[in-house]
Symmetry: C2
Subunit: 198 residues, 2 copies
């Protein structure tokens, strides 16, 4: 097994068979839109055009399929965020605010129901669930990423700036899921400006 694909998360993912690929794609859409507990394995298999037998041959259990869904979504998000920042914010000082622009576009295109990891955590209270650790790791990576960007920008207290952006990111994605505050990202952007000039 030397040809496992390695993503930015550092996780190694065994390559999927074509049927396994369809299962994960179908599961990702259903889990995000309907919720994890609300979607049964029969519905996933049917949507993927695959038998349950194949689903279990590829993933072993529903819990592990959930973890795979979260891990792959985390991969996609990290790739999207980091490459957005690389392309749209060449100067170190512009990078932290640019993460909010990336988030706004992501929410618009890929996450109308808010943060998939927060939503998943709402359904997975037990730390024993294989998906739980994926969610916590995602949030921890976010915080570390912000800390690095703040340090690159020469911020006097990178930890404090990172904490502030963490709060803004979570606030924006949560509020976006409710629809009560249009242009949440815009408000966050203005608050970030105050945070960085102070």
């Amino acid at each position: 097994m030397t040809d496992d694909s390695v993503a930015t998360t550092g996780r190694t993912v065994p390559p999927l068979t074509p049927a396994g690929r369809r299962v994960l794609d179908a599961a990702s859409g259903l889990f995000y839109r309907e919720g994890i507990h609300a979607v049964g394995v029969d519905a996933i298999a049917a949507a993927a055009g695959v038998t349950k037998k194949t689903l279990y041959a590829c993933f072993g259990s529903k819990d592990r399929l959930v973890a795979a869904y979260l891990a792959e979504r985390d991969d996609r998000w990290r790739d999207w965020l980091t490459s957005w920042v690389r392309e749209h914010a060449p100067a170190p000082a512009e990078r932290l605010p640019a993460t909010l622009d990336a988030l706004a576009h992501w929410l618009d295109r890929e996450a109308p129901r808010g943060c998939a990891f927060v939503n998943a955590l709402a359904e997975l209270p037990s730390p024993d669930h294989p998906g739980h650790a994926v969610v916590v790791a995602q949030k921890r990576w976010m915080l570390d990423y912000f800390t690095g960007l703040a340090a690159d920008a020469g911020h006097p207290d990178p930890d404090k700036a990172a904490a502030g952006f963490m709060l803004l990111h979570e606030g924006v994605s949560t509020v976006a899921g409710t629809g009560v505050l249009p242009d949440a990202a815009g408000h966050a952007h203005r608050m970030a400006a105050g945070l960085l000039t102070a």
Copy 2:
């Protein structure tokens, strides 16, 4: 029916029988800790020491029991928040920041898994579910409450200030559910200071 109890939400709640009271208490704890879909009506009835027959006589369906859980929790939160602010922040200018202190204590005492309404929304994507409207109303009330406090404090742009506090509140409660950022409320407090002096 002239003696319905009326809470700060303006909702009228038909008075519950003793058994109905036990059902709602049991359901509230289980729904919040385990998640809505993860808890069955049999478990709720057993925890309340009540027959399913009684549960259905009092609430009609699981969906309506979920809505009652959310509505009552919203009542409790509004009472807690408004009375906290009344007692701890007599001066209008102190009231908006004081909401973050109230939130910190509430999370510590009543909401270790973060915002119950956000968690519920993660499990109730359909706007047809009776609980969906309760969640959206809760968020809208929060925004209106902040707007009022900002206006009382003489803030030049109350809507902008309210949006900022909305983001901070959602950010703090979401982050609290993940455990990756200790003292999230403290960080929010410092950001709020910058927001209000600017």
